[in-house]
Amino acid sequence: MLRIIIYREFLANIITLRFLLGLVICLCLVGANAYVLTQSYEDRLQSYQLAVQTHTDEIRNIKVYSELSYTHRPKADKKPRLMSMLNEGVGERLGNTVEVSYNCVPVRAEQYGSDNPYLVVFRKIDLTLIFQIVISLLALLFSYDTISGAREDGTLSLTLSNPISRGIILLGKYLGGMFSLVLILIMSLLIGLIVILLSPYGTVSASDWARIVLFFLVSLIYVSVFFTLGMLFSSRTNRTATALMLAMFFWVISVLVWPNASSFAVSKLVPIKSDADLTMEGFIDLYAKNKNSDEAASHHRIADLWFNQYDREVNNYAKKRGVSMDFGGMMSSFFGGETIMGKFHGPPEKLPLYHEYLKFKEELRISYADREGRIWQEYLAEYPIRQAKLAHNITRISPASAYASATSILAETDLDSYFRFLQQAKQYRDELIQYLHDQKAFGSEAWYNETAGKKIDTKGIPLFHERPESLSSGIKRASFDISILVLLNVVFFLLTHLLFLRYKVR
């Protein structure tokens, strides 16, 4: 009996004009957008490859190790994801390249290869947005009259005259309606995939396939939220029109109003301290104001670190060991790095001492950079990240936001994936330090003298390799959002069931 109800409901749905219209619109939108997104992915991939090439060449062509310190710092580049078509997320906007060196801890990424900085004025469209808006609307339009409509045209009393429980009827109506939506979803996704696969860059790996399947499942759960909601409204009221209006306004609030409003409200309610106290730009302003470096630096934690503390430690060491200025090179720099090139000018017998001094100085830089990184980390965790997480959690109440959050995790374009990238860049820094230690680069002649006896082995300098997140950890992270969606489904369905049991058929 259940099968008959499902079959009947499914057939009744797919012969309607709304099904045809929904299908055509979805196919057109997804197809056109997949094309546009593939194009922009190709562009991004090209500029990524160019960036990696340039950055690799830069460190492969260094003459002395100290170039890694300031002028040719290695860079970690984030590879654009094919799956970002599913959801652009925040990943792209936050930047995709970051400087990494033994004396420089990556805290904030920048943008490579963006020729037009004003493209922010266009809202990005991805598949998530299309499904979020269009398919959820379709789900509501498919379900708002499942019960009240059947009552209005009299079929409900006929169906109920059969010896089946109301629960089975409800389940049948739900599954029948959902199957027709699944049909639309699958066909749109297929169109999108075909467009992607036609592109020369669109190689879909095994893990990408799994992600696409998961994306499909999450989309299904999301669509089902709106379908069950439509059924709920439909069983709550006797008139179809009322059910429709309630459904429409719930949709507007959860898809359009809530995600926008709550994020803004949070940014107003939870004040954020400016990072001017931390950036070097801020320090230079302060310095120009006070004209007294010590005083300015004392207000400025990072400048104080390098300008006062580091400098003092290096000077003390130099004084104690009797290193004098005429040895060549600068003594130190508050930017935390310096590139020295040239020959040692001092008396030859002082050369080992100079090397020891260099070794001390550069190794000290590692620990100071660590401290700088910690200051940044504290600031970010206390202000921007806290605010962003709060906003994220509040918006998640809306199914549309929970859906977007889950898909951005699957597409690896969410905020945590960005931090994951930075974390990997930090591990890359450890590799670099290990390499420099292995080569005994600190305090060697090859640190500054390009005509030193031993040529440096630039081939051996490690490069950054981003490791994509494993699918299982992605699923684990997305599970919270997915469970919100599942929960909404269950609640709506149970409520519908409850109301339907008491539904007056006449």
Binding site: L17, L21, P117, N260, S263, L380, P384, H392
Partner: protein, 475 residues
């Protein structure tokens, strides 16, 4: 009879669930929008004032701490003046991503560097659409318009009231007009209440002074909003008349709404960056360096005695001749300005493409009137260029010597020093940069096409609904 139909339609709507839902939604969102704007604008204004003050203070510091000719050198060749984009007083109408677009340049008489974004917002906070008028009216009100009109004709037919109305001796056109006006008025009620609430809260808070020109802007935006909503009403009535079932009418309307309001405005950027090509940043900087070199060579060919004297380090230092480096920098600037224009043009053409959708037209019109977005940025950029020319003029005025001549011994040269010492130069000689908003008249003029196309959108569907309704089968 017309009056009667209108009245009936309005009363019918006022009592409906969808009307009260619309009203509540609009009132809440518009109130929130004004509150957010007030706190946002206060912050933006104080940051702007502080930046200006800081910039001026630094300039005065240079004047205090150094004497001629170092002051000349520092102020003209070394010190960057920072100029800032003024936060628009009318960002509550349309934010236009003003805060994400660059807001500052560094500037010397020789060159402009930038643009830069001085972030005052949280970079990791995901930004959505700012709930301003253009969003509330452009997205939510247009949605409400569709929800209120999808069954104007087909619903009446289904209920059977249409037959009754038609049995009266009234022409069909009048019935349609009555329905049209009635629906429009019942949509304008929440719109008007929302707008008034928003304006009153902002006016009372006093963050923005609303003078005559402000009212012109607000009035024009209200007119645009009226046209925009009226356009959606006529679209709704047209589809409602063209389709037998209200359910079908609703789905057609909602899907076309989603395409016009959500999808089309989003794809403009990507399509545009594919169609309108701009040179890459590297190419532009190489080209500008070549222009610089050419101008330098030309200058050196003209004044061979300047070889080894002109074009030292930096732009210009005391004693060095002035004309050569200036000419070379001008050549470089020209290339960079052209490049800057090209990127702005790319965005503008993308925005023009979006104008195929009514939301694109409406948003663009509101941004022009509010003086935000790309239009704001473009005008700011042009003013900054103008300001650089003014600075250059001040520099030429204050430079007491022949700009084509070099003074070899620099400060050691007695003649040079004597003349220089006589220069009177105060910080007040350097004009301050205050960004001027786009004049109201210009803004209104710039929206004429938007008004025209929105009216066209309205008229086409209105005519369509007349045609459809005249041939409508009432059974």
């Amino acid at each position: 009879m017309l009056k009667y139909i209108i009245k009936r339609e309005i009363l019918d709507n006022l009592l409906s669930l969808r009307f009260s839902l619309t009203l509540i939604l609009i009132v809440i969102v518009m109130t929130m929008s004004s509150l957010l704007f007030i706190s946002d604008h206060k912050k933006a204004e104080s940051a702007y004032a502080m930046s200006l003050q800081e910039n001026r203070r630094q300039l005065e510091q240079w004047f205090k701490s150094s004497s001629m000719p170092w002051t000349l050198w520092v102020v003209f060749s070394f010190n960057d003046q920072k100029v800032y984009k003024k936060p628009s007083d009318f960002a509550f109408l349309a934010d236009g991503y003003d805060k994400e677009l660059p807001n500052t340049f560094k500037i010397r008489p020789f060159e402009i560097s930038g643009p830069n974004v001085e972030l005052r917002t949280n970079p990791v906070l995901q930004t959505f659409e700012v709930p301003d008028w253009s969003m509330v009216i452009g997205i939510i009100m247009s949605f409400a318009a569709i929800v209120l009109t999808y069954d104007v004709i087909s619903g009446d037919r289904e209920r059977g009231t249409l037959k009754l109305t038609m049995s009266n001796p009234v022409p069909r056109a009048i019935i349609l007009l009555g329905k049209y006006i009635g629906t429009l008025v019942s949509l304008l009620i929440p719109l008007l209440i929302g707008i008034l609430l928003n304006i009153i809260i902002i006016a009372v808070s006093g963050v923005v002074t609303l003078d005559g020109s402000a009212w012109v802007r607000i009035g024009m935006v209200s007119l645009l909003s009226l046209l925009y909503i009226a356009g959606f009403v006529s679209l709704g009535i047209f589809v409602s008349g063209a389709v037998r079932e209200s359910a079908t009418s609703l789905i057609i309307l909602l899907l076309s709404w989603a395409v016009m309001v959500i999808v089309v405005p989003g794809v403009g950027g990507v399509i545009d960056s594919k169609i309108v090509k701009i040179p890459s940043q590297e190419a532009a900087s190489i080209e500008s360096m070549n222009a610089w070199k050419q101008a330098r060579d030309k200058y050196l060919a003209q004044y061979p005695e300047m070889r080894g004297i002109a074009f030292g380090s930096g732009h210009w230092s005391p004693g060095e001749n002035l004309a050569g480096p200036l000419a070379a920098e001008e050549a470089r600037n020209d290339v960079l300005e052209r490049y800057g224009d090209a990127i702005v043009r790319q965005i503008r053409s993308g925005q023009n493409m979006i104008r195929v959708s009514p939301l694109g037209l409406y948003k663009n019109g509101v941004e022009v009137l509010a003086g935000t977005g790309m239009i704001h940025y473009d005008s700011f950029m042009k003013q900054v260029r103008q300001y650089r020319r003014i600075l250059k003029g001040v520099m030429m005025d204050k430079y007491p010597l022949d700009p084509n001549k070099a003074y070899r011994d620099r400060l050691g040269d007695n003649e040079f020093k004597m003349v220089m010492d006589k220069v009177e130069f105060k910080s007040s000689d350097i004009p301050e940069f205050h960004e001027k908003p786009i004049v109201v008249g210009d803004a209104v003029k710039a929206t004429i096409w938007n008004i025209f196309f929105l009216s066209l959108f309205l008229l086409i569907f209105f005519m369509g609904s007349v045609v459809v309704f005249l041939r409508y089968d009432v059974r």
